[in-house]
Assembly symmetry: none
Homo-oligomer: 156 residues x 2
Amino acid sequence: MTDESFLGNALNGIDAKGRLSVPASFREVLGARSDSRALILAPAERADCLVGYDSSYPAKVRAELEARFAGDYSNARDDHFRATFGAAERVPIDENGRIIVSSAMKGVGDFDRLALFWGMGDYFEVWNPLQFVARPNLDPRAIRIVQRLLDARGTA
Amino acid sequence: MTDESFLGNALNGIDAKGRLSVPASFREVLGARSDSRALILAPAERADCLVGYDSSYPAKVRAELEARFAGDYSNARDDHFRATFGAAERVPIDENGRIIVSSAMKGVGDFDRLALFWGMGDYFEVWNPLQFVARPNLDPRAIRIVQRLLDARGTA
DNA sequence: GGATATTCCATAGTTTCCCATTGCCAGCCC
DNA sequence: GGGCTGGCAATGGGAAACTATGGAATATCC
């Protein structure tokens, strides 16, 4: 079961083509959960970052939402589905373990040239590292870890 | 289970002949579900937009409606069936992945020159993007995504 | 015939694929 | 221990393939 949790973190570059390497350890977890050839990216609920799941996630959420809104034929139900599915993307992972970050997702996460992967157990987050370290109330040890990754890149 | 959920979005142009490209990712889902050479378009129940699904979906909708209106022999029930099935169209997808938006559907969705495809999991919606962003109570992140797409098209 | 629709081909901009390079870490030998 | 070596992870670049879209050519209808 330890295989199936997203742990740890990584700071990777986004190149001119929008390509971004998914950390090998996360790819392994993705493979253990469903299919390592793709992942799901979506805007996070409460922060300007992205969340990533394995590709079995949409089916799960669909079942969940359909149960929750059974018999509900309201606009609220529709808007909820809109926010859930239309704003998410299925992103294929190439032979080298990379994905391409669409411009839509770049906008949502306010990305520049770096992307920080952060394990969250059942899923993971992808941050602009500068937004991450600027976040108030976050554990200072976490911030120091990222600060060190940034320093190792030679980027202030 | 391959991915059979409609995820993500796309903003495509409607040309002078009423031609409209169906996003490749949606065509893939259509193919995985039934037939990628056609789709069903219908007026949405609660908004001035269209809903689209694969050709196997009407059967599912019928089952759903019959359950929802079981034992209901009202005019409302009949009107609902009229709106659902009579107003729907089976639209062929051409070699280049395009459909023709009939003038009837153009009226229903109040389309101009752009069409926004929006994934809803089990189906998808097609909007006039301006109507979409003007919609109250919709997740602001979804609206921002569309706003960015509109900006990328230049001020149209 | 004229207008409306349908099929076919052309193209520009991306995206995808493939291969090369770099750097890191582990293990190993001397 | 120091340095060699092999494997893997991350990244860069070029070329092929594909998407979205425009226009021309052909068919269809009144």
